[in-house]
Structure formats: C-alpha cells, structure tokens
Symmetry: C2
Subunit: 361 residues, 2 copies
C-alpha cells in the first residue's frame, strides 16, 4: 500500500453520525473525505468534500468511489459484504472484509470468539422449529433468539422465557437464519474501545460501563466500577480479538460482567463492533486522542495517539426528544455537547450526545 499523507482522500462507506465524526477528525488532519451512502439525508455528507448517494448494490458507483479515494474505511458493520469486497479489490479497505464477514454473522462471530478460548453466552444455530427445540433443550431458558445478520439496537431479537414463546420468537425471525443465545445474568455491561495498527500496535481506552434503555445505549460511565484485574482482562480480550482478526482501526468489544455468589468477576463477550463505537464517544473531549482521530490514524498507517483519559466521564446519548435539552447542556460548564445535524427527531433516534467531564480519576 502506498503511504497516505495529508491531502489524500479517505473514503467512508456509510454516512451516519459515526461517519460524520470520522470525517470531522479526518479533515482536522488535512485529509479530504469522500462519503458513500444510500440515503440523501446522511449526517456525514455535510462534512465531506465529495459525496456519493447510491445504493450499496450500485457497482458502477462503488467502482467510481474506490477510484476517487486513496484509502477506504466503513462506519457501520452492515455494509453489504459484496460492496466492501468490490471496494477492497480496488483500494485498501481498513478494517478489511474479513472483519466484516466475521462480525456480520452472529454465529460466525460467536464461533470465532469461542475458538480463541474466550467466554461467550452459550449458543446454537437455529434454522427452523426443530432446530429451535434442540437449541432450547441444550441451552435452557430464558434464552434469546436473534437473527444472525443485520441486527442492531435490539432489532431482530426475541426473548424466550417459556416454551410458549418459541413459535412467536421463531416467527419474528421471518425465516432468516437465527442463533439462540443463553441468557447471561450480568451484573453490568461493559465495553472496550481500542485501536490496532497494521504494524500490530494496540491502544485501548479505559473500560466503559454501559447502561441500555430499550436496547439502545443510554449512558456510558468511565472508569467502569470493576476490579483492576477485570479491566486488564477486558483489554487482553480485546487485544486477542484484534490480533486474531488482523484488525486495523478502532473497534469495540461489548462484554457482560458477571459476579458469582462470592463476588468473583468474570467476563462474557457479547458482540464485536468493527468500527468506532457509541460507548467511545466520550473520547472526543475526554481522552487525549478521540476514537475518531485514532481510527483515521490507524486506517492511514499513522502512529496511534495516546489513549489517556482526562477525568471522570459520563456520556449520555440524546435519544429522540432528549435533544430538546440542548440549551441546558450548553449552560452546564461540565458538559460537552455534540449534535448530529439530523433534521427529523424520532423516538429512539440518536440525535446527539453529551459528555460530562468531572475532576480527575
């Protein structure tokens, strides 16, 4: 791959708020940005030098996009693998198609993690009613049936608490290949946001403690209230996953923390996100290098920045009407407000976030 220098063009597949914040960081480092997305109202378009609005199945548009950029990345894991592969055949794509292939399919992802000797929830593939019966017999209840692909923020999921729930849950999959996952009785949800370079260097931010509401991330606190050993183990898990994927860029590993009767902590990997991550938004004001700049550095083959934290952090998503509180946040000297420029406020829609930074910790 040729060396990337300021003035080069970074291509971004996907145009949501993650792409918007990557574009902003890229511009700060003197890069030009070309955003490819399939909807006109894409938050990232406003910060791009060049935009392409076309379906991810439009091979001519993807080819032209790849021809116009020096390096490419993606900002969401549901970029169709065929689109990513087409681009990767024409220009370096970081992270690569392999990371997408592994993380787009919950079954492949779970198998990949389990093969590394890292704990996941118990899981079984489910393709039909017979398969679901067998999976329920093996895993027990409660359990969660999920589509293998295209799920996010709780979409494509159905809980099975008793045998009566099974047919409805299976119907909710709409015939898509599914996976049954055992229910994890967790004490809290954590994430590790980290970056890996092509040369194998690795930098993790401090562990995040996450609270979800209606399956959507509501709140991230850093540092997480876990033991130093657990924090270290979480970083090691992220490092092992990144190395095994030969990953380049920023990614997140979502984890469950469990505590047994004696209070001993254990970690269970829930998901890998091959991209900058909502639980890492606090790094924009709260860390020495934001996850967005870190991603750009890694993708361009530049040195990773330091991942130190400036203080005790609380990041709240502004979901739906919560964005109406923007003025109160602007008036709060501890608050750093970021809005995504979305014209339409809808329930459940991420409109922005606010990071509260207090003291040192």
């Amino acid at each position: 791959m040729k060396a990337i220098a300021p003035g080069a063009t970074l291509g971004i597949l996907g145009g949501g708020q993650l792409g918007r914040m990557i574009a902003s960081a890229a511009a700060r480092l003197g890069l030009k940005v070309h955003v490819f997305n399939d909807t006109p109202a894409s938050p990232a378009f406003a910060l791009a030098d060049v935009t392409t609005c076309a379906p991810f199945t439009d091979e001519a548009a993807l080819t032209a996009f790849a021809g116009s950029v020096d390096i490419a990345t993606y900002e969401f894991e549901n970029v169709p693998r065929e689109a990513a592969a087409l681009v990767a055949g024409l220009v370096p794509l970081r992270p690569g198609v392999g990371a997408l292939a592994t993380t787009q399919d919950r079954l492949a992802e779970k198998r990949f993690v389990a093969d590394l000797g890292i704990t996941t929830a118990p899981f079984r593939p489910v393709d039909d009613a017979a398969g679901l019966d067998a999976a329920l017999a093996a895993i027990g209840m409660p359990a969660i049936l999920k589509t293998r692909r295209f799920g996010y923020d709780g979409k494509g999921q159905a809980a099975i608490r008793s045998a009566d729930d099974a047919p409805t849950a299976l119907a909710a999959m709409k015939g898509a290949p599914a996976i049954l996952e055992g229910f994890v009785d967790f004490a809290c949800e954590l994430s590790v946001v980290a970056a890996r370079s092509a040369d194998g260097s690795f930098a993790a931010y401090d562990i995040c403690e996450n609270t979800h509401e209606d399956h959507i991330l509501a709140l991230t606190r850093v540092p997480a209230a876990v033991s130093a050993e657990t924090a270290q183990r979480a970083r090691e898990i992220a490092h092992a996953i990144a190395d095994a994927l030969d990953y380049v860029g920023v990614f997140a590993v979502e984890l469950f923390l469990t505590r047994d009767a004696s209070g001993a902590e254990a970690l269970v990997v829930n998901e890998i996100a091959p991209r900058v991550h909502n639980s890492g938004h606090w790094t924009d004001h709260g860390a020495q290098t934001s996850q967005f700049e870190q991603h750009v550095r890694a993708v361009c083959g530049w040195p990773l920045g330091p991942a130190g934290r400036h203080g005790v952090v609380e990041m709240r998503n502004l979901i739906g009407d919560a964005v109406r509180d923007w003025q109160a946040h602007l008036a709060d000297p501890a608050a750093y407000l970021t809005l995504y420029g979305k014209d339409e406020t809808r329930p459940g829609r991420k409109m922005g976030h606010v990071t509260f930074l207090r003291g040192k910790g």
Copy 2:
C-alpha cells in the same frame, strides 16, 4: 432577532482556516453552515453544507447568501465593509459592521482605544510627505509607517529608523492613507482572546505570550510569563474594548508588554482582531471550550462556555515547509495536530498548527 436553534444555518463571510474551524465547531453543535468566499480553493468550503464562491462585490450573491442563512458572522476583518453592511441589512451579522469599521482602519482603531483611556503607541495620520515629516517630528524615530487599511502579517508596513528611510517608506504605501506609529520597545508580545455575548457576559482565556517570525505568529505560550496584575489588567482592557464596541463573538486584543528600569510592567494595545485569532488556536484542545465553539455560542445567542485551561500550552504554527513535520507531531504524545487542508505549500503560508499540552499549570 429570532432565537437560533440547532438545525439553523450559520453564514460565514470568508473561507480560510478560521472559517474552516468555525464551521467544524458549528457542525458539532448541529448547525448547518454556508460559507461565502471569493476563491475556489477555500479551506472552509470542505466543511460547509453550502458554499458560495463569488466576489465580495457581487451584491446578488451576497443577497442570496443572506437570504439562505439564519445568522451570519465573518472570519476575517478585511471583509469589505459594504459587503458586511449589505448582509447586516438582511440578516443579523455578529459581530456587527461597527466592529469592522473600527478595526479595519488603524487610525480609527487607535483613536477608539485611546479614547477609552487605554495606552497605544503614539500615532499620527500620514497622507503625504509633509504629513510624514510632521508626524516624525512629533513621534521621533524609530517609527513604523503602516497603511491604514488591509494590512496583516506585516504587509503594508515600513520601518523608519532614520530620515533617509522616509521617502522609501512613504512610497511603499503606494498612495494609500497611512499612519505613523512610534516604536514600542517591548519586552514581549501578548494577546487576550475573549468572547462577549449580546447580553454582555464576558469570558476571557488566559493571557497568551506570542513570538512572531517575519511578522507572522510563530509561537504562542500560555500562561504568559507576566504578573497576575498584568494578566488582570489585560483582561480588563479586553473587556472595556468589547463593551465599548458592543461586541458579540470572539475577538483578540494584541498587546505589547513593556518593562521599565525598575521592572514595572505596562501594557500597550497594538491591535484589535474582530474574529477568532491565531493565538487562540490552542483553546481547541487546551481549553474547556474552544474559541471556535465559543464564537458560535456567542453569535447564536447561546451561553458562553467555560474558558478554563487544561495545562501548560505551547502552540506552534506550521508555516510553509514546517508542515512536512506532520508525522513527527503525530508521533509525539503531547502534540495535537491540526492541518488546514491546503493543497499548495508556500513560504509564509499557514498550513496548520500543533498544540503541545503538558501537565497542569
């Protein structure tokens, strides 16, 4: 003026790196941005939602620009006053035309400052050879002859060390109205970067100590090595100037610090910049609120953010070929790199800056 909320469009007259960084801050707060500038290769265009490339004398283009924005500002003080006045007649322009009128003319600016009882260098208007002789007789030598308008980074200036220099200096003014300023034997150059809201609230950053090379800012250190009394006096000067201008937005006051034989410090106002300022670039990573966000907050009628400083700051401009050191800066964990996306590197051209943030102080 109607209340401005996220989703509104901020218009920026001027499209250089200052406009680029204002646009970036505005986008983060959910604003749309329309940049008006007269050259296609404008760094701010890349971060704007809408761009207009037209001369500042194009009344139709200015009228269309004003009609498309909810609030307007400018990013350089040499926006033609007629263009600013046209826009201000159609949409709120902050800061206003008055601040431009005062600061575009060195003579008007000096008189304005002197009328506030604030010390400036001695000055006299110079329109011709006879006027220059009279001014030199009054002020003495060395002195500096400057065009009253359109000077920046040392352009339009000529030093007069002996009577022999006078004709050459006058010729360098090319017939433009000029001002003779007495030479100030300064110990160091300082600046105050501050913001004032429409409601009169005021927030100043810590005093900056500036080093120029070839008349261009090379280095800013914060805090400046001055007494607490001098720092307080500098803030008071900036506050008095802002109040007298009924100023809205971020501005800078450039000052000379003099020390007499006993070491007593005094301040002499050199210039007022009615815009975000190069010596305030460190606030982007080194202060609680960047000067760019602060300017947007003030212009939109939103509360000012806190102006606290994160550590001991050194900001270096990357001028001309110095931008080639970008990789070394990326590898320095104390360095925050910002590049302006300019395609062509030229001697004396500001290509970016790097802020070094160390410890606390």
